[in-house]
Amino acid sequence: MIAYLTNLATLATIFGILAASLNLLIGYAGIFSIAHAVFFGLGAYAGAQLAMLLVPDLLLACLAGGLVAGALSLCLALPALRVRGEYFVAASLGLQMMAVTVFSEAHAVTGGHGGLVGIPLASLLGFDISAPATFLMVCLVVLALMLLVIRLLMRGSFGRGLMAIRDSESAAEAFGKNVARLKTLAVVLGCAMAGVAGVLFAFYMAFVNVESFTLEQSILVMAMVIIGGTATLIGPLVGVLLLLLLPAGLSFLPFIPPTEIGSVQQLIYGLAMALLMIFRPAGLAGQSTGQR
């Protein structure tokens, strides 16, 4: 039971980082990316390769994963600067589909459909951190750091700039905001954080393949952010907990055959997304009055 809970908590923490980083794009900057799993994947592959080829140090791997995801996020920043709304969603979809193909075909780097097997146990500055409880603690620390950074930045002028662009791009520009640079910064920052989440994920699973970085994953993360509440610190975490606990909770219901749990889970979060948009578009944790 303890092992089961630790497992759930670790996954929730990793997805918490992922959802918080997507919230930076969707909630604060108004950049509606549905390609976030791509950067999660880039981080995971980069971290895994570093661990397998050089040294399984978590800090170095996080740096590498963040750098790779951040650098390649310029592929997402480019359309974000040129188009908005439906067009950008379409562009990010295109990026997601291309990336999945690349992930499954670039055998040398990603191991193709078979994935990368045998990622060594994680260490941190020479200490072994692979014990489940220790690894959970490390993940929690990373999550706390990320949330702190996001909070500081979003309460400051950077966050105000992004939200101003989200609410009215032309007015933000008329008051001296360099829209292109702010958007690029937001994309790079959000995607680099997703890369770090990917590194943690790779070490934790000791195995990664393309199945974790598909459109379905991007949508799941988007659902977490939106159901929880965009542009709030706590919202994405609420969404993560709900959507991760959902399959666990459903497995206790005797009348649902275990093979259908995946479908029932999707049915529920699909309907929840639609209903929330009708009745509470700000999400569960979003306040309809005032504060962010």
């Binding site: 930045l153 400051g156 002028s157 950077f158 105000r160 700039g161 939200m163 101003a164 989200r166 609410d167 009215s168 032309s170 007015a171 933000a172 520009e173 008329a174 008051f175 001296g176 905001k177 360099n178 829209v179 640079r181 702010l182 910064l185 542009a231 009055t289 005032g290 504060q291 962010r292």
Partner: protein
């Protein structure tokens, strides 16, 4: 020449076959309020968009203190001291009133603003002062989209006021205001003018124009037909008939 804060020279812009702005010259002087008057579709807002860099002119030039700003992006022109309002306000709807104004004061587009705590306190003071002057102090924590219409209009003005910009371009700032708010608006603008701000406004209400404007530039179909003192323009029967859209 360089005494003129903003000067428009032979500005020309066509959209397809339509001449939106045709060879317009305009000088805005400090402490002088100029009103752009003309029927709908005369090119008034397009002229604003050309000045602020949202639209690039086919030919002609815009000079700030005698220096061309041709080809600069809107945010670069804004940083040279040009602030504008929009007909549809374009507030930052989901942000608080205070953050709306504060965001307008933070042009450095980086992860943080330069200058440290001192500069930050100065900005916060400017925000409070602007809210005070526009009567929005009590609503400082409300979301912009939750404000009443008149309050939203004053918020769009507070954003401009706080920046300390020396050139204001106001697009129908008083439309839809009740008489009381209108009087407050007129006072605010007069005070700014007395502090040396150069103002250009688009306004359909001729009462407001006569109350505020020192000069009127009359536009029709993209061309400047006349410019002069308000009485001179408003007593010209030909212009007035164009303005009220009587058959020509």
């Amino acid at each position: 020449m360089s005494a003129i804060p903003l000067s428009v020279r032979g500005l020309d812009k066509h959209f397809g076959g339509l001449a939106a702005v045709q060879r317009v010259d305009l000088d805005l002087r400090p402490g002088v309020t100029t009103a752009l008057v003309g029927p709908n579709g005369a090119g008034k807002t397009t002229l604003f968009n050309l000045i602020t860099g949202n639209i690039v002119a086919d030919s002609g030039d815009v000079l700030l203190d005698g220096a061309s700003v041709r080809g600069l992006r809107p945010y670069e022109i804004a940083r040279r001291g040009v602030a504008r309002s929009f007909q549809d306000l374009r507030l930052f709807g989901r942000m608080s009133v205070r953050d709306n104004v504060l965001a307008a004061l933070e042009p450095a587009s980086w992860l943080w603003q330069p200058g440290g705590g001192g500069a930050r306190r100065a900005r916060e003071k400017a925000v409070e002062a602007a809210l005070e002057r526009t009567g929005l102090t009590a609503q400082a924590d409300a979301r912009a989209m939750d404000l009443a219409y008149a309050e939203r209009k004053f918020l769009s003005l507070a954003r401009i006021l706080a920046t300390g910009a020396r050139i204001w371009l106001l697009d129908e700032p008083a439309s839809g205001l009740d008489p009381n708010s209108r009087a407050r608006f007129v006072n605010l603008v007069r005070q700014a003018v007395s502090e040396g701000v150069t103002i250009c406004l688009i306004e359909h209400n001729l009462d407001i124009v006569t109350e505020l404007a020192d000069r009127i530039a009359f536009l029709d179909r993209g061309a400047k037909l006349a410019e002069g003192e308000p009485q001179e323009i408003l007593s010209n029967p030909q212009l007035i008939s164009i303005y009220f859209g009587e058959p020509r």
